[in-house]
Symmetry: C2
Subunit: 507 residues, 2 copies
């Protein structure tokens, strides 16, 4: 059999795999639409009934992805040559999904799913009542299952937390993350102390006020479009917590919320638009396949935070459009200069809540979670000790101490959803973004582009190096291919120190 014949045959095997995967993806897409609908529109009492539909669709998905047919086809495909990079990536992702799903006994998986379906409610109530003890038993159970499942999946003595981390970010095991967070702790904790002791006073009282929701909505739509979100292929809706989701690269959906503090919705929209622009940029040959989403959680967060911070909190960004803001809110911002506004939205205020953190303190919130997750998974930390440890770490790194668990250990939903190993990607994303910025500044006048409103040039670079590849390459590979360097967290530290040394007198 010559080369050409062999390639022909391979294509046939892949051709048989394709409709299997297409059906599996259709089920996934339906599940995404149900989630979107639940968060944005579905009536109050629909949940219990719709959950059955979601359950049946999930089951159908798992049946396809762990079936004998797909197992056999994947085996054949893996051996083959003559496939494109995209096709190889799709096969690799399918194989990983197969491995992930097939190792966990279905009975245990169902019990776990039921636990998690319930736990978000338990968590929400415990948070509302500031009662960690009400959540602790559920959390213990979730950790039990998480460790058990990681155990099924661990390869050659792999640590359990490394298995979990790998689900969100390939190439970032504890070893790598210890270095990363070690650097942040060493550099940023003392730097933050200097900043908070600085005599520089930044006014931000005008950000809170009577900002009419209708006008905020108009601003949100304007900003999303201005940074390049394409409303022909996307929508913006409202939900309790802002998020981004997508059915494929021609249907990407953002949500936001509208608060009394105008910069909350404003930057959350730019943030979500960053996620959205990533998904809109995935190549057509990848969309609607298992390799058709952003490369990883961290890479996704790099794009959202690049748009939010490197672009949106940059003074140059506001030069062409600050007038628009003043026109929308003449009463609140008419007498506030652009310089004052930009300083206000960059004010450093060490606080208790991660999602409200400024750019400088953000990664320290993540650091706390990383250290605690490691202890929970690798050191059998007793769940009961979490609130105290949480408070101690906040005091040490951020200089603030929660007075109750709602503003402490109960603030995030992630653990209630069984997401262990997810948090680090929030900090990694910021660091990826800083490395990208450093690279881009070598070849272009970044601020000048913002001043001219030519964001499409920046978007083009990100699409060319990152977006179009979807999951074809992992985040470290993408960073290497783009910047010519492996992941280098020093750029992130330098970026923050340089930016905040300009804003705050620290001597």
């Amino acid at each position: 059999m010559d080369q050409e014949q062999r390639e022909e045959r391979n294509k046939e095997t892949y051709g048989m795999l394709k409709p299997c995967l297409e059906r599996a993806m259709a089920l996934q897409t339906a599940l995404i639409l149900f989630e979107w609908d639940n968060e944005t529109l579905a009536p109050e009492e629909a949940g219990k009934y719709t959950a059955r539909v979601q359950g049946a669709l999930s089951e159908a998905y798992q049946e396809i992805m762990t079936g004998e047919k797909i197992k056999r086809l994947l085996e054949q495909c893996r051996k083959e040559t003559g496939l494109s990079e995209a096709e190889r990536a799709i096969i690799r992702e399918a194989q990983e999904e197969y491995d992930r799903l097939v190792r966990i006994p279905p009975k245990e998986y169902r019990a776990y799913q039921e636990l998690v379906a319930e736990s978000a409610r338990v968590w929400a109530k415990a948070k509302e009542q500031q009662d960690f003890a009400a959540f602790a038993p559920v959390l213990k159970e979730i950790i039990f299952y998480q460790k058990r499942f990681a155990g099924y999946r661990a390869k050659d003595g792999q640590k359990l937390y490394d298995v979990m981390l790998d689900d969100y970010e390939k190439g970032f095991s504890m070893k790598k993350l210890d270095e990363f967070f070690g650097l942040l702790k060493e550099e940023l904790v003392p730097f933050l102390k200097k900043v908070t002791q600085s005599r520089t006073e930044i006014r931000d009282d005008f950000l809170t006020g009577d900002y009419p929701e209708e006008k905020q909505r108009e601003l949100a739509e304007f900003l999303a479009e201005y940074v390049g979100f394409d409303f022909k292929r996307g929508v913006l809706a409202q939900s309790a917590h802002p998020f981004t989701t997508n059915l494929h690269n021609h249907d990407v959906r953002l949500t936001t919320h509208y608060k009394k503090r105008v910069d909350s919705s404003l930057f959350s929209v730019i943030h979500e638009a960053g996620h959205g622009i990533y998904e809109l940029g995935v190549a057509d040959e990848l969309t609607q396949t298992l390799a058709g989403q952003g490369a990883s959680m961290g890479m996704h967060e790099s794009q959202s935070r690049f748009f939010e911070n490197m672009i949106g909190r940059n003074e140059a960004f506001w030069e062409p459009i600050y007038k628009k803001l003043q026109e929308l809110f003449p009463k609140e911002l008419g007498k506030v200069s652009r310089e004052e506004f930009v300083r206000a939205v960059n004010k450093v205020q060490p606080g208790l809540i991660r999602t409200e953190a400024d750019e400088l303190t953000y990664s320290l919130h993540v650091l706390v979670r990383y250290e605690l997750e490691k202890m929970l998974i690798e050191e059998n930390l007793n769940v009961e000790k979490l609130p105290e440890l949480w408070a101690d770490k906040y005091e040490e790194y951020l200089g603030v101490r929660p007075q109750n668990p709602a503003e402490g250990v109960l603030q995030d939903i992630h653990w209630a959803q069984g997401s262990f190993g997810y948090f680090p990607s929030y900090a990694l994303g910021s660091a990826f973004a800083a490395q990208m910025l450093q690279f881009m500044k070598k070849s272009m006048d970044f601020e000048e582009l913002l001043r001219k409103g030519e964001i499409e040039v920046i978007r083009h670079v990100l699409k060319r190096h990152i977006h179009r590849f979807g999951k074809m390459r992992d985040s470290r590979q993408l960073l290497r291919d783009m910047t010519g360097e492996d992941f280098e967290p020093r750029y992130y530290v330098e970026y923050l120190k340089e930016k905040y040394s300009r804003l705050y007198q620290t001597e």
Copy 2:
């Protein structure tokens, strides 16, 4: 094997059928959500990509519903005793769906689906350009397939149009419908002439005006809730054409549009709420099964038109709430009395457009379509002759003649979607509603209930006799069980004549 053992075994067979059907229903529910999303929210360019997802889900649905497994289980189940009425209904519906899907060669079905996916666009463009010739070739092809498929499915010399009619309304073949429409033609055409020649003048200019959309939305939500639509289990959104859909009996969705003419949205909301209340009333044991929707198109329309006309256009209905309307629109309705308002929304105005028709002329629009469909399917009427014939019939029955095909034969999307046999159910629904009203008036003071705002009493009767049964019984059976009589169209004619004789001096 004794009775009890046999029942035990049957339950087992049914128990095996259930998960099959559950998965099929989950796929259907996902398809419904995609349709809803397309009509209300999805971005402009998503369609082509999302269509692939919908295609894959449809294919999965068909595979389940025509598989060997379901065939075998249905055979076993059909022979069994000891099942409840609901279970028997579910099995019957599944068998019908199997028969419907299995008889049509998959290749032809796919070709037809592609044709129909395209034809709505061709129709919309033809309508916009008032160019019937652009739509005629597609319509011919659709009719070709419709007849071919009906031929595959016809039993023992059944006529093709009867096969089609049966899909929408069991027990109403051409024989029955000829009687029904014959009566309407005989009675209503001359009666309408009298009404239009009456000297009674009804003012309705105030219905058109500057009705702010925000206020119309407030009114729409108020009215839907007032007639009994439960917003904990439903939502109201906006779309180009009002419609109702549902995921199950705890998630029912209405849409409306807002026009310059206030009664357009107002009555369309009450109409859609009628559809919605029907679906909300389906019993829990039926929802999320193949028997978990309204009994038929006609029975559905009976509920929407009962709410819209028998309730909503009744003067007594407005007694407790007309003030609310005046408060919402003081400029437009502040000086219009309730009596004037109710007369205006009942004004008879023979027109060209079915969806804008008053209660008296509505069924004559349907009559035209019924006669033409019969000719197209049973008499091989040449499609090219449609516009002329359409115009002639409108002139004969309604006294008006379309000047272009957009206001004539191209006005409805139904034929472009391949829905032949659907139209009669619109008129049947109105007649069912009149028969129900006649029955209810025997045992309750209908107007008094409306005057007191006690619509829940009326709703209770409809739920008890109609809604809760879902598809368990067909429409004629439901009518018989409720009213003690077979379908009797004379009640409809009497209702219309009595109502409009009161409104218009006809001597």
